[in-house]
Symmetry: C2
Subunit: 459 residues, 2 copies
Amino acid sequence: MIERTKYLLADEDTPTAWYNLAADLPELAPKRNPGTGADITVDDLLPFVCRDIAEQELSTERYVEIPDEVRQIYTQWRPSPLVRARRLERALDTPARIYYKYEGGSPAGSHKPNTAIPQVYYNKAAGITQLVTETGAGQWGSSLSFAGAYFGVDVRVYMVRASFHQKPYRRLLMETYGATCVPSPSEDTETGRKRLAERAEHPGSLGIATGEAMEIAFHNPHVNYAGGSVLNHVLLHQSVIGQEALAQMALADDYPDVVVGCAGGGSNLGGLTFPFIGEQLRGGRRVRVVAAEPAACPTLTRGRLAFDFGDSGGFSPLFRMHTLGNDFVPPSMHAGGLRYHGMSPLVSSAVEAGLIEPVALRQRACFEAGILFARNEGIVPAPESTHAIRGAIAEALAAKEEGRPRTILFGLSGHGHFDLAAYEQALAGTLEDDIYDAAGVEAALTNLPAQERPALLDA
Amino acid sequence: MIERTKYLLADEDTPTAWYNLAADLPELAPKRNPGTGADITVDDLLPFVCRDIAEQELSTERYVEIPDEVRQIYTQWRPSPLVRARRLERALDTPARIYYKYEGGSPAGSHKPNTAIPQVYYNKAAGITQLVTETGAGQWGSSLSFAGAYFGVDVRVYMVRASFHQKPYRRLLMETYGATCVPSPSEDTETGRKRLAERAEHPGSLGIATGEAMEIAFHNPHVNYAGGSVLNHVLLHQSVIGQEALAQMALADDYPDVVVGCAGGGSNLGGLTFPFIGEQLRGGRRVRVVAAEPAACPTLTRGRLAFDFGDSGGFSPLFRMHTLGNDFVPPSMHAGGLRYHGMSPLVSSAVEAGLIEPVALRQRACFEAGILFARNEGIVPAPESTHAIRGAIAEALAAKEEGRPRTILFGLSGHGHFDLAAYEQALAGTLEDDIYDAAGVEAALTNLPAQERPALLDA
């Protein structure tokens, strides 16, 4: 007899609607038009995204129907498996039950295609011929490239220069899907040229690359911007993860005491945890939610909850979110997908409401957890995902300390096949432990647009 | 409404026994002891493998029970999905129905863990503390490393030097699992030193690397050799692929007219197709089976059916198989896993019996097929797997030509995340088309042991 390892759902169990936490959150954070300070409207967003996406961004409906064509494509890799980490449990000698929701089986290797596919679908329907975006570690850029290939929409990706050189295979994956990948900052935009003038071979940041992409979309009517995280509609699309996990935990006849996700812009964290938080807000069972962010870019634990731009070009709306300042350039670290100055406003609101506990983790400890995981569960995790693993292990060890069982669910957002150079350093003991750049954050927070324009904060 | 994409089985549907084609093949090819010319015995194999494995190698039982511990580990990624390639069908505008059995979702990214896990399991039980092996593209080396981590058995991998330098991430994957990876030929063995004396920085071959691994096992009682293909017990373990596919085709209410697999040493091909061939041999429905091999290393289409060594060190038994000669060094090509001079004796027997049709394909055409597949089905295939895709596409286009439906099943043996440099060349149009080295094969065939010792052929 064998013990159950995976909890699977059939194609037809792919969710039929996305879940929107905005419907259940006690208070919804508004977004501001940076020019007027007023709450933004659908029209304010149309220079960047198509109408369907703009409406989803501002929607407070609890459920948004998933188009059949999107659902059909989801079935190529969805529902994704929920896996019981029995070997990891034994390695930790813990009474805890550990489950992970694995998104690395998608074509691009992470959860990002969950939103790439609907974004390209809606833009294609709106007559858009090119999408532009930014990418850090490359997970988002390759996912949008994959989706672009499916719908015949041209994709142009601005990749943070440091990652562009560190991860040549990520660029090649985008090119295999037919996309173009450009190191950022670039000469293509005013945002990029300004940084290059300050410093040739500028290493870039997610904020700068986002600014470049948004600038291009702003100036071209047939070109739109596609965001991989932070935005409400992105977290809406990612809710398929948590909805499936709810059904799969029921199959396992179990329910998580704690759900752990890694936190960069918030898309994997929100996608996995919001459906559980929603259950709780509507009177269901209480669940602890832990957001594991990197100590080098500790947006939730050390940032300020304020109005700030999502990009370093000043093109985006002003989001009320935890931020380290939009021109903060985080220290280079391998979890490039977590190297972002801001946070999903929905996640920030949930943290403010006490629904999510943030914790900052150092990358050396996270890679140690990743290697332990690989040697017990087989999958080599993405550096981003190792933060969730580390957080889950801490919960499992706490359960052991207490001598009581605990059900832990964490998000394994992607695999690390393109990140093995970082594992090489971790194995050789040469991985730098990331240091928090307190002075850099202080300087960046001094430049917050909200402080330059205090009227916005009072509005 | 959505159309069904994936045909899934639950953990408990993982096969309980491996299927052995040797029980159903009309005539079983014997193996020879190179010293005596007599049929080999279990004892002849014990310097290299443990008793359980040796018995499986020579077994003619139809079913061999899978140990619970192996089956339990299989459930981490098995049963693997059977996927209907609906988007590829539409792209080809074919009346054919195309299915693929996807093995790339395993922790090491290919079908190889199906045999790595039982091999390490049996060796661990036999008190073996180290396993040595060869690897070409790295799929097998990383799979054995993964399995070694699970059972706490030390793994040492001799990697063909050309691939060692081409694919640094494969080495890093092995190291992440805790294994050691050495470029071959090496100074560790007589087999290696001889080649290095002939040529410093010798590019290596699978035959040489196999010889190095077997030499080490031969001289060390606590060290065994683990083979990733060719051998009967390897194809036995891989039969889980085809057994699951049989059950999944039934779920799809369909049955293949033709099954296509890529052919290097024969492990993916045999694993997928033997259960179908067995059904046919026992009176079930007839199925065409196509073996897609590389034009640069065309063992089945241009090799000789003769007794030859499996390695270039002369350590292995003599196998009656199609061979290009054990000291043939195939031209460098990206599908390193198909770059082998010989072939599984069971596959060779099935070809001889007219049960399998071999076809030789060029790598440029295969990469074109791989890119078409990636842009329609999302998954970037391993270079080896692109041969099966190309073969399947040829069948789909033939069906279109005929204007009649045809059910095609092919084996997608792994993903190409570690092979993107080859895709870069394919996209840039700089991929060399492989040339068949007729003179090299002729020279190697002149040195066949069967010809040096003709008594063996007559025995």
